[in-house]
């Protein structure tokens, strides 16, 4: 791994913050899986369980005004950038109280307020879009950056390289975050991708990058800070290939027969990002088991409330079918 090992002198507050954020995503996704099983969430539902450290680490490197955009595996990104779990869960259930009034669903959610630009269902389409957000910031002359997330599967799409070319050519302040969870749906990286290290593809465009341990939130944050500094300084794009792992199938309807149960269990046992921070909190005597239990309880409460809200929020009014197709001139 190219990144430094997590520093042991990280403050208690910071560790607790990461712990809470990651745990919120974990519990939220478990609940979403449960609601899917109950038929309350329909269609495709791609869970982020296992990958929590990626978004939590990178959000810790962001500042107000920075933008983020990702694919359809987007629940974690939304929670990490501060969107309300109630609004996210209610969108999953297709209700009026959802971020898109129930009209977007799991894969298509947005928050202008939190600078979250989706939630895109077409693999890799978000990559040029993210570069375009960065283009707008550069055009306006501010120093914001855009975190553009995509997976190892998307990394084989042609538009990614069209975007690398233009982002490098025009020095766009965009951080390309390759969330390499090693499986493009059911096809492992070895079977789909000619290069072992995807970030190296950026070199042919002159885009610097590195591999990051995506199961270590502190390593992700440190790499994120480095990438952000590069972009804010006007040096153009940066690539972070974050090695991560999803515990669940590609979507709720994926039985994940392409990998062994043992492989998944080994990752959970040895590399889990939440356990890692929990251990640091306990061994560093930053938090007692009781304190951590209290945190778990608080998180569970937030998630349960979001689920209740998502069940109770009414379905969108029927005339919503015909709204938001065209914007009215201001």
């Amino acid at each position: 791994m190219a990144t430094k090992k997590a520093k042991s002198n990280t403050s208690k507050e910071e560790l607790l913050h990461h712990y809470k954020e990651m745990l919120l995503i974990r519990r939220f996704e478990e609940k979403a899986g449960q609601l899917y099983g109950m038929g309350l969430i329909g269609g495709f539902c791609h869970l982020y369980i296992g990958q929590e450290a990626v978004v939590v680490g990178l959000e810790a490197a962001a500042k107000e005004g920075d933008k983020r955009i990702t694919s359809y595996r987007d629940h974690g990104h939304m929670l990490a950038c501060g969107m309300d779990p109630k609004g996210v869960m209610a969108e999953l259930t297709g209700r009026e109280g959802g971020y898109s009034k129930g009209k977007g669903g799991s894969m298509h959610m947005f928050s202008k307020e939190k600078h979250f630009y989706g939630g895109h269902g077409i693999v890799a389409a978000q990559v040029p879009l993210g570069a375009g957000l960065a283009f707008a910031d550069k055009y306006k002359g501010n120093d914001n950056v855009t975190f553009t997330y995509f997976g190892d599967g998307a990394a084989n799409q042609g538009q990614v390289y069209e975007t690398f070319n233009m982002a490098a050519l025009w020095d766009l302040p965009v951080i390309f975050v390759i969330e390499n969870n090693q499986y493009a749906m059911g096809t492992s990286q070895q079977r789909s991708t000619s290069s072992a290290e995807i970030y190296e593809r950026g070199k042919s465009f002159g885009i610097p990058g590195e591999i990051v341990d995506g199961m270590d939130v502190l390593a992700v944050k440190a790499a994120g800070e480095k990438a952000v500094a590069h972009c804010r300084a006007g040096k153009g794009p940066y690539i972070l290939e974050v090695k991560t792992y999803r515990y669940r199938g590609h979507s709720m309807s994926d039985p994940a027969k392409y990998r062994t149960r043992e492989e998944v269990q080994k990752m959970r046992d040895e590399k889990d990002p939440i356990d890692h921070i929990r251990d640091m909190l306990v061994t560093g005597k930053h938090a007692s088991e009781d304190e951590l239990k209290a945190i778990d309880k608080d998180i569970k409460k937030i998630v349960n409330e979001s689920a209740e809200f998502a069940k109770e929020s009414p379905e969108p009014a029927l005339d919503e079918l015909w709204t938001d197709i065209y914007a009215e001139a201001q």
Binding site: S100, G118, H120, I122, L129, G132, M166, A327
Partner: protein
Amino acid sequence: MATEILMPALSPTMEEGTLAKWLVKEGDTVQSGDIMAEIETDKATMEFEAVDEGTIGKILVAEGTAGVKVNTAIAVLLEDGESASDVAQAASAPAAASEPQAAPAPAAQAKAPVQVNVVEEDLPEGTTFKTQTVREALRDAMSEEMRSNDDVYLMGEEVAEYQGAYKISQGMLDEFGSKRVIDTPITEHGFAGIAVGAAFGGLRPIVEFMTFNFAMQAIDQIINSAAKTLYMSGGQMGAPMVFRGPNGAAARVGAQHSQDYAAWYAQIPGLKVVQPYSAADAKGLLKSAIRDPNPVIFLENEILYGQSFDVPDVEDYTVPLGKARIWREGTDITLVSFGIGMKYTLEAADRLAAEGVSAEVIDLRCLRPMDTAAVIKSVMKTNRCVTIEEGFPVCSIGNHLSAVLMQEAFDYLDAPVINCTGKDVPMPYAANLEKLALVTTDEVVAAANSVLYR
């Protein structure tokens, strides 16, 4: 033998040009490859090279002459040993074949010609007009909007330093600089996506596709990202932007470069689709499209770029999207078209008028939203309708209009609606087949006669 040097065709659609400058004079000897003249087309100034070697015997067209038709003799080239007296021989050679005369219209059953009522737009009294090409009108529209809104910028292939592949953006780089007039690599999918992202981020991009044929590479970003995001975000964010460029058949460029996408884009909720005919509409509609808070597909036509029209000489001339224009009023039949289809439609209307048929001509101008109310209103008066477009016949704009008329004006129709379209074939290259593949004025007249039971 002395040979004539003919005015060359320097682009697929060039019909005439200006002999800007001779670089040789009478008596000069030239080798194959020598540059003899500079010829200005409506798109560019090109150097014209000698193909054969010889001596320039006579220059037939003086430099500075405009409107020189392609294939006109512009000079005479003498071979070794020939003298100026041989010039006459060459000059008397038969001229290039001219277009055959159209067959005279059958006069026997024709009624007296009808009086044509050309409908002027609703403009303030005393409005003056200036003559402009569609090309100039489009550039003025973009430049005016860029002057008034810093968030508007233009990106596309060859839009900046090359001054536009079709010279639409001529001079814009000089005025607005490389920050706002941006050359892209030839990667439609990527730069269309970047522009959509920039629109999400608060800018107002104008994306020029060198032609809409290449926009198929980018169609996912246009439809899935630009058109649908407003809806998917519950109204939080959308893509206020314009995708523009030439669409439809040019001339002799074959199947992959000759297609009308009107019906494709007109199907998509979230998009607005404009296809202007005249320069005035090109200007007024493009300005409205740039200001519109939604993604607008703006379909131009290469053959129309060089055509001149009267454009209202008023400050900030705009035309609202979604409103058809009645070009001429009539009582016997409604002809509905848009874009270059209007050319055949207006020609057909003239011919019908000479035969005593009063045709009302409607230019839809905008295909989404489509002003079907204007068509229905007209059909309630004329009871007959023919639609005209250059696109393919299956699931065409005309098909849609026919269905609307059937549902909403069935009782007013005295005959089935006929759709005149391009043929259901990929565009052939051969000149005669290409002509056959396109919609023609003859077909429009025949369709009109058919629904009039004449």
